[in-house]
Amino acid sequence: MAENGNGSVKEGFEMPEIKYTKLFINGEFVDAASGKEFETRDPRTGDVIANVAEADKVDVDLAVKAAREAFDHGPWPRMSGYERGRILHKYADLIEQHIEELAALDGIDAGKLFAFGKAVDIPGAIRMLRYYASAADKIHGETLKLNGAYQGYTLKEPIGVVGVIIPWNFPSMMFFLKVSPALAAGCTVVVKPAEQTPLSALFYAKLAKEAGIPDGALNVVNGFGPTAGAALTSHMDVDNISFTGSPEIGSVIMQSAATSNLKTVSLELGGKSPMIIFDDANLDMAVGLASAAVFFNKGEICVAGSRVYVQEGIYDEFVKKVIEVAKGWVVGDPFDPKVNMGPQVDKVQYERVLKYIEYGKRDGATLLTGGKPCGEKGYYIEPTIFADVKEDMKIAQDEIFGPVMSLIKFKTIEEAIERANCTKYGLAAGILTNDINIANRVSRSVRAGTVWINCYFVFDADAPFGGFKMSGFGRDQGMNAIEKYLQVKSVITPIYNSPWL
């Protein structure tokens, strides 16, 4: 592991001023009805950054009421798609003017790399917003071929009030992954950001207002899952709920939707994504991609390539090289541009990752490198690699959400496919090979929502993203995502003396 910077906090970085800490309801920043607040902490130090208003059921009710009113009587769904698109483009322009500040907010709130936030996270969120801004005038119904003398067509109508619950690992991307298509469709939205990372969402709320998004069309209620989250998912006036997070919570949300008003649900949940490396792969590329796939963002990413399957012909050499790469991975203050990996988001996650490392050792996997915390304070963990991992071990089954790679050797394509699918998850997969037949076969055989061939983490606004199996259902991104926020209405009327049917 690098000598410099590991686990340390960089001095002298000017922290952004925390301007917005209240709830954003009906176009105004307001305190929680109860007056309660909670602390959001800097994961580098565990210190409190700010006290943030804590929403409860009462506040969620107010936010939903505002969103309902904005949908039922407000201008947002009644303006043309072009007009909505113009406002969303303006919104994107405003975010563009604050990239640095927003990246810093996500940096201190989530421990994310500042340089990466500036270069990737925030521009990615902007790109997402622009994609849907220009999709707003491209939502098409269809005219139909009916079995009789009828004229039929479909209308794609905005579904109504959308509840959005997002995680802390990509606060900005997740916000716009959900909010942009919902707003483009003409829906109104109530967002509950993760309690770990409420700050950038509040900033986005403020910019939304500045861009001209009408009051009530976008509301942000910070708070906790069991209170604010539950109130939103069980609300009788919410028409759709879109969630990204853990499978356990996904299940609770779906039940909550079922026992309230049968609102439609989309879930983007966990993963235990396989990275399958075949003998013919370019070894250096494979080592680079495999380590980035699991160490990127401290492993706190639902699509982490956390099970690495390597074919036996290159296994030994792969192991040698991947250990080197892991050791060279610099852990430290996310505001330091030399750093590859910041701290885990909070104490709970930090302890959970360390616990899984213990499970790995206990179950008989071979610890090749890492395995320990680093630094004197904060939640830093070394990039960790286990070899000789079996599918029945806990570290191969559960989502660790930390920088822990499980290495597995395989012989044949059939074996790789079978073992890669031996998981309750199905979010993503990586395939490394230059053999077109292997690539085509494995990409159809792996039961996962995204397959990256000779690349990884290539997210794009135009590429639908979501899971098979317990990784969830429904898709974010792409034109598919807009469908979640639309109702389909068939309109049929008799047609007389038509020259064609």
């Binding site: 005038d137 003396n497 038509s498």
Partner: protein, 541 residues
């Protein structure tokens, strides 16, 4: 827009009381300086005084090739004229086949070597969005230049057409990163992808009636798809295309991606349509020129062709119609833009039960139409584009009178300078009359009478054209029947001339081939490539 029309319709009602019915002119009257005499009789038009000086200067008069403004290789120029006076606005470089070769070469290089088609679609879209913002910033300059060169009311340019230009560019900018091919099921164990690739170098020839709107319809989808373009604006109106192209370069368009060659059809236009290195030609203009273009494409390299040509579009007023509203809509359907619209509602079919009332009110509305300097506020109608069109329209008016149609309003020149024509209305028009069959492209409304739905369907369809139709009724079943029975590319029901960026536009029959605007237009600028590869041990098919 509809609201405004209704308001003006209501306002106009108070003027209807004083109209007078005119007797058809005698043959002798026609022989004696017909135009001026009619002009004197229908003197409700505003006087055409000294022209207002347009608030803009002409910055660009050269050819735009490979990112540079250059003179024509021959050094030749041609004058572009002010239709208000017939005087020269500017001398513009005149491209011919040598210049077209240079422009195609630049476009070819920009396509084959990039960077334009090699950029990400998102990057292309950012440049087009920037272009749209620049158009908005220069709205009034573009509008002034457009009205000066074309003669259309400045308010129409500034409030409708330049905004429609930026709107259409934004629409296609937004498509750039949403162009999807399908993954197609094979019959056997094959993986099949469909790639939608840019087609290459697109030649585009646009008309003079809506220079900037036509620029948007052509250039927007072509560039969004990743093509490069050689554009030939109409020789009557070369100025705004050059200005817009300059703004597009300011927005960051790479050199050679859009080349603008001003010039004439038989020289520059033919060279483009017949060029072996041009992969696609898109043309908007007359049916006659459209035939030549298709022939040139066929004789050269079989480039694919999109044609948006003439029309003789029916506007059908059913017996349940509110006559005042129908009159207003039919009036604007025909007279908008001096009647110089390919989709003009130039055959006004009116149900016999409301026919007489309709004719009287249509006449009154035409007499009230404000003709004058397009730069004056409140002017509804400016001059026709040029002397050729002006004379042609007057000939059609003569032909209408000769064939026995009743001239109820207008019928001649307005003023004594420039190319102004009085808003003209004929009633008792029969299907076989020339004025009911040919595209007049001027402010001449022809009103025909019909008895029932089947009859009007048959008569409306009895035309070599099939561009558009208007239907005026609140009867749902009649509306639905007409909507399907009319053999035209656009049917407007209780509205007209709605030309949103997302609505496909184009013709049946001799009104053309292909569609512009909407998603459909993308198809004109994309090649489809199917990619097939076997699957071994497939998990599913």
């Amino acid at each position: 827009m509809m609201g405004q029309r209704l308001v003006s319709s209501l306002l106009s009602r108070c003027l209807y009381a004083s109209h007078r019915i005119l007797n058809p002119l005698t043959r002798q009257e026609r022989k004696l300086g017909l135009a001026t005499r009619i002009s004197q009789r229908f003197s409700t038009l505003t006087a055409i005084e000294d022209p207002v000086t347009p608030p803009v200067e002409v910055k660009y008069t050269k050819l735009l090739i490979n990112g540079q403004f250059v003179d024509a290789a021959s050094g030749k120029t041609f004058p572009t004229l002010d239709p208000r006076t017939g005087e020269v606005i500017a001398h513009v470089a005149e491209g011919d086949s040598v210049d077209i070769d240079c422009a195609v070469k630049a476009a070819r290089k920009a396509f084959d070597e990039g960077p334009w088609p090699k950029m990400t679609a998102y990057e292309r879209s950012r440049i087009l969005f920037k272009f749209a913002d620049l158009i908005d910033e220069h709205n009034d300059e573009l509008a002034a230049l457009e009205s000066w060169d074309n003669g259309k009311p400045f308010e129409q340019s500034a409030k409708e057409e330049v905004p429609l230009l930026s709107r259409t560019i934004r629409y296609y900018a937004g498509w750039a990163d949403k162009i999807h091919g399908l993954i197609v099921p094979g019959d056997g164990a094959h993986h099949v992808q469909v790639l939608r690739e840019p087609i290459g170098v697109a030649g585009q020839i646009i008309p003079w009636n809506f220079p900037l709107v036509m620029f948007a319809w052509k250039v927007g989808p072509a560039l969004a798809c990743g093509n490069t373009v050689v554009l030939k604006p109409a020789e009557q109106t070369p100025l705004t295309a050059l200005y817009a192209a300059a703004l597009l370069h300011e927005a960051g368009l790479p050199d050679g991606v859009l080349n603008v060659v001003s010039g004439f059809g038989p020289t520059a236009g033919s060279a483009l349509a017949g060029h072996m290195e041009v992969d696609k030609i898109a043309f908007t203009g007359s049916t006659g020129a459209g035939k030549i273009i298709q022939e040139l494409a066929a004789k050269s390299n079989l480039k694919s062709v999109t044609l948006e040509l003439g029309g003789k579009s029916p506007f059908i007023v059913m017996d349940d119609a509110n006559v005042d509203q129908a009159v207003e809509l039919a009036h604007s359907a025909l007279f908008h833009n001096q009647g110089q619209c390919c989709c003009a509602g130039s055959r006004t079919f009116v149900h016999e039960r409301v026919y007489d009332e309709f004719v009287e009110k249509a006449k009154a509305r035409a007499l009230k139409r404000v003709v004058g300097d397009p730069f004056k506020q409140g002017v509804e109608q400016g001059p026709q584009i040029d002397e050729e069109q002006f004379s042609k329209i007057l000939e059609y008016i003569t032909s209408g009178i000769d064939s026995g149609a009743t001239l109820v309003a207008g019928g001649g020149r307005a003023g004594n300078k420039g190319f102004y024509i009085q808003p003209t209305v004929f009633s008792d028009v029969k299907d076989e009359m020339t004025i009911a069959q040919e595209e007049i492209f001027g402010p001449v409304q022809t009103i025909l009478k019909f008895k029932n739905l089947n009859e009007v369907i048959q008569r409306a369809n009895a035309s070599p054209y099939g561009l558009a139709a208007g239907v005026f009724t609140n009867n749902l079943n009649n509306a639905n029947t007409l909507m399907r029975a009319l053999r035209v590319g656009t049917v407007w029901i209780n509205c007209y001339n709605l030309l949103d960026a997302a609505i496909p536009f184009g013709g049946y029959k001799m009104s053309g081939i292909g569609r512009e605007k909407g998603m459909d237009s993308l198809n004109s600028y994309l090649q489809v490539k199917a990619v097939i590869t076997p699957l071994e041990n497939h998990a599913w098919l």
